[in-house]
């Protein structure tokens, strides 16, 4: 090791691999994927992983991805809820990995929830 920059590069890299362990507290945006049997059968796991990968790829801070059990609307699985502090919860239904990438881009990064994917649009 010769320079502080080298050490800092290792640090940044290592940190990225450890973001899931951060205690982000109440300030974080939470993405919750329904992963009960119904969700898994409907393909929730690729959705979950797509969120994790996309957030890592874009190196987004203060966003956690976690799972939950059955959200209670099995016909709409896979279901994903996005909870941002101080904003109303957005519930996306019938999610896919491709849709997940789009949600990260439009909603999480740019702040525009995708109305077409939400439970409201699906029940109309």
């Amino acid at each position: 090791m010769k320079t502080i920059e080298e050490l800092m590069a290792i640090r940044e890299n290592a940190k990225k691999k450890m973001t899931v362990r951060e205690d982000t507290g109440d300030e974080a945006t939470r993405i919750v994927v329904g992963m009960a049997t119904c969700g898994i059968a409907a393909g929730a796991r690729p959705v979950l992983n797509a969120f994790v990968d996309e957030i890592a790829k874009r190196d987004l801070k203060g966003v956690t991805v976690s799972q939950t059990g059955c959200i209670g609307m099995c016909q709409y699985e896979p279901i994903v809820e996005v909870l941002e502090p101080g904003k109303e919860k957005v519930t996306y239904v019938k999610m896919t990995a491709e849709k997940a990438v789009k949600v990260v881009n439009d909603h999480i990064v740019n702040g525009n929830p995708i109305v077409d994917f939400t439970v409201g649009a699906a029940t109309k």
Binding site: A14, K17, M18, A36, V65
Partner: protein, 595 residues
């Protein structure tokens, strides 16, 4: 990218309650479910709540599972990792409230703690240097080598007010400046990880949970004092700590953080590990160095102090593990940050190994100045079984006790010394009304008699005589004159022993005499042990009106001391009775009494 990390405690406590088998089961179960690309298993060091081990924490939720068994693993994987449903029955009950699951940091055990020395324990994988680096590891070393002169490093340590955590409480910056001031062709840094105090495991946990921080701190110390070589002296009874320390040293060498020309600064430093055989006296700094040199671990007279003639007769800085563990944070966050914690003359935090009659046994790190009451009633969760707190022993065999009446004393070096106790290295043993204080003194004296190296007479012979006197008291054969002799001998040993072992050996006797003299007197004059511990002073008997003649006790008594026919009142033959107490435990009618 892993979406979830499962941290399993690999500290000594949890390892002995089988956490390694849990890790194996987790890995195979995760593979079975095809989750190996999504979920990562990490083995960490001690979380502090060893009594609840084996411990597991699952991120990103931060769910804290305690007392996990191998059989529970499939359920955790299926429910939590696959389906995202917490396994409520395994959650640490303090984290479960009516509506919600709290984070670990909000529990009574952690709330008042402040982790500096233990900051990475239970947080990172100690065998992975990159996880240490992720939490600013080796940044302090880089800062020292690139931006600070050795004198500036020492000044920061001085300004922080850090004092030695090995027991003596000597100002660390001052100690470093002594070694720095001595010119020599070779100087050394020594880390004292002997940790001989029975019941203490602070240093072990730091080495197990965060070995790189010791490597980093010793390198900083080398730079500050002009030493190029360091030794860590660890007891061989700490195999996990030794293994992780050796891995850490190897990794640091591979990354060029130990060895030649570190950070292109021209500074060279390397580390060696030496194993101690577990003699208490080898924790004394001069004995420790004698032992590293390959000789029998006996103390040498001071002066010359280690800063002048230490290891291999060269100027040496010797510090305790926990002392070193504070250094990188002090360099990174500054002296003022550290000095803002604690009391006027004791800055920062102190780690205690909480043991004895307390609900949450384990490792706690608290700001100096926290009261014993806060430690016991809040962090420790109180005394089990509704018993009353009697005293806490600090400083192990060299220390004394704090009685219930002084529970609100803020804990720091000077307050403890003022009440005739001492901070010690951090063993904190809680005692309740069932503990006999004479017996406690005897326990520690037994230990020092065994551990005295024998080099000087006051300690070798004196402690033995002291123990004999205590034996006489607990056997009910002593007179009040013996009590005076006991005190005289204590003071004589303190004044005339060569090293700290002998000089402090009488402390447990003196402290218990000071606060619990009436218990000594009860043993001598009334021939009674008020706590009901000292066997020679107790008799078991059966109360005739309560005995139903069920014969249960007579069948259990190993000495055949209980006589009586079925449905008739039984009696205990005191000549035969060996006072084991089995009858008392056996009797369903409360007829057996101990007096």
């Amino acid at each position: 990218m892993y979406r979830s990390h499962v941290l399993v405690c690999g500290g000594t406590g949890c390892t002995s309650s089988n956490s390694l088998a849990i890790i194996d089961a987790l890995e195979s179960e995760i593979a079975k479910k095809g989750l190996q690309e999504e979920v990562k298993v990490v083995r960490t060091g001690c979380f502090g709540l060893c009594a609840l081990g084996p411990i597991m924490i699952v991120y990103p939720e931060g769910s804290f599972y305690s007392q996990v068994k191998v059989e529970d693993v499939p359920e955790i994987v299926e429910e939590h990792l696959l389906k995202g449903r917490l396994v409520k029955r395994l959650l640490y009950d303090e984290t479960v409230t009516m509506e919600d699951v709290k984070s670990l940091q909000e529990t009574d055990f952690y709330k008042k703690q402040h982790r500096v020395a233990l900051r990475n324990c239970g947080v990172i994988d100690p065998e992975n240097i990159e996880e240490y680096i992720a939490f600013d590891g080796y940044m302090a070393l880089a800062k020292c080598l690139k931006e600070l002169t050795p004198a500036e490093v020492i000044q920061i340590v001085k300004d922080s007010g850090l004092r030695g955590r090995g027991g003596g409480g000597f100002p660390t910056g001052l100690k470093w400046s002594f070694t720095a001031a001595n010119e020599a062709d070779q100087k050394y840094v020594v880390c004292n990880a002997d940790e001989g105090d029975p019941g203490a495991f602070m240093d072990r946990s730091v080495l197990e949970g965060d070995p790189h921080c010791i490597v980093e701190a010793m390198t900083i110390c080398g730079y500050a004092t002009g030493a190029t070589e360091g030794y860590v002296y660890v007891r061989a009874e700490y195999p996990i700590a030794v293994k992780r320390l050796k891995i850490a040293i190897k990794q640091a060498r591979e990354y060029g953080l130990l060895g030649k020309n570190i950070f292109d600064s021209g500074f060279d430093f390397d580390l060696h590990v030496r194993l101690g055989a577990g003699a208490f006296v080898c924790g004394e700094e001069t004995a420790l160095m004698t032992s590293i040199e390959g000789n029998r671990g006996e103390p040498r007279p001071r002066p010359p102090y280690p800063a002048v003639k230490g290891l291999f007769r060269k100027p040496t800085t010797e510090n305790n593990v926990e002392t070193f563990a504070n250094i990188p944070q002090i360099i990174l966050k500054g002296a003022d940050w550290f000095a803002s914690m604690g009391t006027e003359k004791s800055k920062g935090t102190k780690v205690f190994a909480l043991g004895g009659k307390i609900k949450n046994t384990g490792l706690v790190e608290i700001p100096m100045g926290t009261t014993l009451r806060e430690i016991i009633e809040e962090i420790g969760g109180g005394i089990p079984n509704g018993k009353k707190f009697k005293a806490a022993q600090t400083g192990g065999p060299s220390g004394g006790c704090i009685p219930a009446s002084l529970m609100d004393t803020p804990i720091d070096y000077d307050n403890l010394t003022a009440i005739g106790c001492m901070m010690g290295s951090g063993g904190l043993i809680v005692m309740d009304e069932d503990n006999c204080m004479v017996d406690i003194a005897k326990f520690f004296l037994n230990f020092t008699v065994d551990e005295s190296c024998g080099k000087c007479t006051p300690c070798r012979v004196g402690t033995k005589r002291l123990l004999e006197m205590l034996d006489k008291i607990t056997a009910g054969k002593a007179t009040m004159e013996d009590l005076d002799k006991l005190e005289d001998l204590c003071n004589y040993i303190k004044a005339n022993s060569l090293c700290g072992l002998g000089q402090t050996a009488p402390n447990p006797v003196l402290a218990t005499l000071k606060f619990f003299r009436e218990e000594y007197v009860a043993h001598i004059q009334d021939k009674k042990c008020p706590a009901g511990v000292c066997k020679a002073l107790m008799t078991y008997s059966i109360e005739a009106d309560k005995c139903r003649g069920c014969t249960a006790c007579a069948r259990k008594c190993p000495a055949g001391a209980i006589e009586g026919k079925v449905k008739e009142v039984h009696t205990i033959n005191t000549d035969k009775c060996i006072k084991c107490g089995v009858c008392l435990e056996t009797c369903k009618f409360g007829a057996v009494v101990k007096k």
